[in-house]
């Protein structure tokens, strides 16, 4: 009897999972279907604006909530100083009333924030689709960048401190505290140290499509492999310890190429002190909005952050940052 129940339960569970998967898949497919690049950009901007509105509302509510909290604290402080029990009761009652309002505002603010983030995610998927349609000849690879996985050498130096004053010396942890953290080496008897602070958070956004900090630009990166390298490797693969090129594609929010921009490049490994081992530069704009980035080199596997500071040519605005996380 119990077995039958179990069976039923699992079948039910599988059906539910399958259903939700199909819904999710058909959801995005349906919405992109039949739309041209401009319509996709319009939709993306629409979701973006909704996301912004929600975020603004959410922020306003959080601010209101903060000022309510101050009022409540004041009332409670007043109550503690107050000698008359009658007034004390009244103050407690007022504080209670405000606390309810505060809770409501916090809840609503949180809900709007979550909604805003999910709308932004939606906007981004529309941007990506629109971008890929509009820049078809240039977008050869939509996947996040990886490193050639035939490389087994995962070693890197483990520095995670900027500098050490002599007085701190004996208070430092050892470099190999985390030696046993590495689950991936279960088939090895060698105990290779984990890379300190090198485990990228599991929900890290490693997309090769990003919106700039000020939300003025949309950008995409991919490896511009040499013809000979292309035959050997996956096009998204970054070579280890070899100088190579990327393409950085830049558009504005409506999919118009951002031309004649000045782009500075910065990069580092979170948890390490060092930056990039080279000084990469944009060497030319090979087509409107398509920038060739040369001199990139990654001397180790792991989590890298590459940031492009974009100074647009036509505006006197502040430079905008476009940041990509890579887990190589």
């Amino acid at each position: 009897m119990t077995k039958i129940k179990q069976k039923l339960f699992f079948t039910g569970l599988i059906i539910v999972i399958n259903l939700s998967l199909t819904i999710k898949a058909s959801d995005s497919a349906e919405t992109f279907y039949g739309l041209d690049a401009n319509e996709l950009f319009d939709k993306a901007n629409h979701y973006f604006e909704l996301s912004d509105t929600n975020m603004q509302k959410s922020r306003a509510l959080i601010l209101e909530a903060n000022s309510l909290r101050k009022k409540i604290n004041k009332l409670r402080a007043h109550k503690r100083r107050e000698s008359s029990p009658l007034v004390q009761d009244q103050l407690a009652h007022d504080a209670q009333k405000l606390a309810l309002q505060l809770e409501q505002k916090q809840l609503e603010g949180g809900r709007l924030r979550a909604e805003s983030l999910s709308l932004k995610q939606r906007a981004r998927s529309f941007f990506e689709e629109a971008f890929c349609q509009k820049w078809k000849p240039w977008v050869k690879n939509r996947d996040p960048l990886t490193m050639d996985d035939t490389i087994a050498m995962t070693l890197a130096h483990n520095s995670r401190i900027l500098s050490v004053k002599p007085s701190l010396l004996n208070r430092m942890a050892t470099g190999t505290d985390r030696i046993k953290d590495r689950g991936e080496n279960d088939d090895m008897s060698l105990q290779i140290p984990a890379l300190a602070s090198q485990n990228a958070p599991p929900d890290l956004d490693i997309s090769a499509f990003q919106i700039s900090r000020e939300q003025d630009f949309f950008g995409h990166i991919e490896v511009d492999a040499h013809p000979e390298a292309k035959a050997q490797h996956n096009v998204s693969a970054v070579p280890l310890n070899k100088i190579h090129r990327w393409h950085l594609l830049l558009s504005d929010r409506n999919g118009q190429p951002v031309t004649n921009a000045n782009v500075d490049i910065e990069g580092h490994m979170p948890g390490h002190v060092h930056g990039l081992p080279t000084e990469p530069r944009v060497t030319k704009e090979v087509a409107p909005g398509v920038y060739q980035v040369e001199g990139l080199k990654f001397q180790m596997k792991g989590w890298w952050v590459i940031s492009f500071k974009v100074h647009s040519a036509d505006k006197e605005s502040v430079p905008d940052d476009l940041t990509f996380n890579l887990v190589l």
Partner: protein
């Protein structure tokens, strides 16, 4: 039924025990397939082909290597006629000199590194102030405390002693007698006299002498690319394990050395920089080795980068055979970042037990001192008035036990390749073989 349960319990306990005690604790020689795949990356058999040398088109020419070998051992390439490259890079000492600071015409600022494996390094010298072996070879020649010779003297020695061989490689030299009549003590760098004499020369003469000088470096590079190592016990061990010959493998390295190997790639964290078949990542790190000169601190890579930008003989220079766009390391050279301050190139650990003393100025006399430093390191010396910023520090304490330190040192002993005393490249072509030199040295010591 009861017996059955008892057996089950015993079997369960057995498997539990086996899974709790790691394989290598039962037998340090026991490696998994994944271990071997990992270790193979350190084997000499995995050494890639010599890197391409676009800046030097004769880098792999045999005649050039042979002429380079002559130059390498030629003491006429010095201010006092007593110093050759082999003075500080002695084949019988794995191309080092066994000194903390090298002594030639004067005393050098840093310790002479081994030349074995140098051909694979993108940067040369402890601070990487040269971007190729041919450019590197030119530095010591004009350095007053090393060879202490001049550009003209080097070129004239070539014309006088090696002209037919030189012309066979580089083509006809015009105006040989005119070039031989120029003042010997002439160079764009060096003493005031040398610089003054250099100024008296015509542009064409300067060009020709500098060309012969640059070509001398290219010949020395061609020679150094022939210096190869044969497998060390560690390499033999890894290869035998990969072939499944466990018993034979065990004869190559001791139990202490295997424990040391496990520590080397594990808890001792050595392999984080000393990796690959040459046991180096060829990068620059500050490990906080004691500062030797508190009056003029060594800024390491920070100075090296500054020197590179100004260097006369880089890949980007007119003396290089490379198209400029192929000089990627120079075109995208990292010139900024506090990680450059006081950072030195990771040296190879091959033959390390025979190349004492250690670190950039030989601060540590033996490997025990080196390990003690890594075990409880001192942070980099910092002098506000001399350092552009507080140097960054690349290492953390290891806290190894005495036994563990000894095991790591024992393991390093397994990285020694035999001295190639029968190899024609490991000897002065006009003189005794390295074996004969070693025998002579031994005799002198015992007498």
């Amino acid at each position: 039924m009861k017996i059955c349960v008892r057996w089950l319990v015993i079997a369960l306990l057995g498997t539990l025990l086996l899974s709790v005690v790691p394989l290598h604790a039962q037998d340090p020689y026991r490696f998994t397939e994944a271990d071997l795949k990992f270790l193979k990356q350190f084997s000499l058999s995995r050494l890639p082909e010599l890197p391409k040398s676009p800046g030097n088109v004769i880098a792999d020419d045999l005649a050039a290597a042979k002429l380079g070998q002559q130059l390498f051992f030629d003491k006429r390439l010095s201010g006092n006629g007593q110093v050759s490259c082999a003075t500080c890079h002695q084949p019988e000492r794995y191309f080092t000199d066994g000194k903390a600071l090298s002594v030639a015409l004067g005393t050098t600022r840093r310790s002479a590194p081994s030349l074995l494996g140098a051909a694979w390094s993108p940067w040369l010298f402890w601070d990487g102030r040269k971007d190729s072996l041919w450019s590197q070879a030119l530095g010591p020649l004009e350095n007053p405390v090393e060879h202490g010779t001049t550009r003209n003297a080097v070129a004239q020695n070539m014309l006088r002693s090696y002209l037919p061989d030189y012309e066979a490689i580089f083509g006809k030299v015009n105006n040989v007698s005119e070039l031989l009549s120029l003042p010997e003590d002439a160079s764009p760098i060096g003493s005031q006299t040398a610089q003054n004499n250099w100024l008296t020369m015509t542009a064409a003469q300067k060009e020709q002498m500098s060309q012969i000088f640059a070509n001398s470096g290219k010949l020395l590079m061609a020679y150094q690319r022939r210096l190869m190592m044969t497998p060390a016990p560690f390499d033999q061990f890894v290869e035998l394990l990969n072939e499944g010959k466990t018993q034979e493998a065990k004869t190559k390295i001791t139990e202490s050395q295997v424990r040391g190997l496990r520590l080397f790639v594990g808890k001792a964290n050595c392999a984080s920089c000393h990796n690959g078949p040459l046991f180096t990542n060829f990068e620059f790190h500050n490990v906080g080795a004691p500062e030797s000169n508190l009056v003029k601190v060594d800024l390491g890579r920070y100075e090296g980068v500054k020197a590179l930008v100004k260097d006369e003989f880089t890949c980007l220079s007119k003396w290089s055979d490379a198209p400029k766009e192929s000089c990627e390391e120079m075109l995208f050279l990292k010139t900024k970042g506090k990680e450059l301050i006081g950072a030195f190139k990771t040296p190879t650990l091959r033959n390390i037990v025979h190349t004492a003393p250690y670190m950039q100025t030989g601060q540590f006399a033996d490997l025990k001192q080196v390990m003690q430093h890594y075990n409880v390191p001192t942070p980099p010396y910092y002098d506000r008035s001399q350092h552009p910023e507080r140097p960054h520090f690349d290492i953390l304490p290891l806290l190894l036990t005495e036994q563990e330190i000894d095991d790591v040192i024992a393991f390093l002993g397994s990285l020694t390749s035999p001295i190639k005393d029968t190899d024609e490249w490991w000897r002065d072509p006009n003189n005794l073989s390295t074996k004969e030199v070693a025998q002579k040295n031994n005799k002198n010591q015992t007498h």
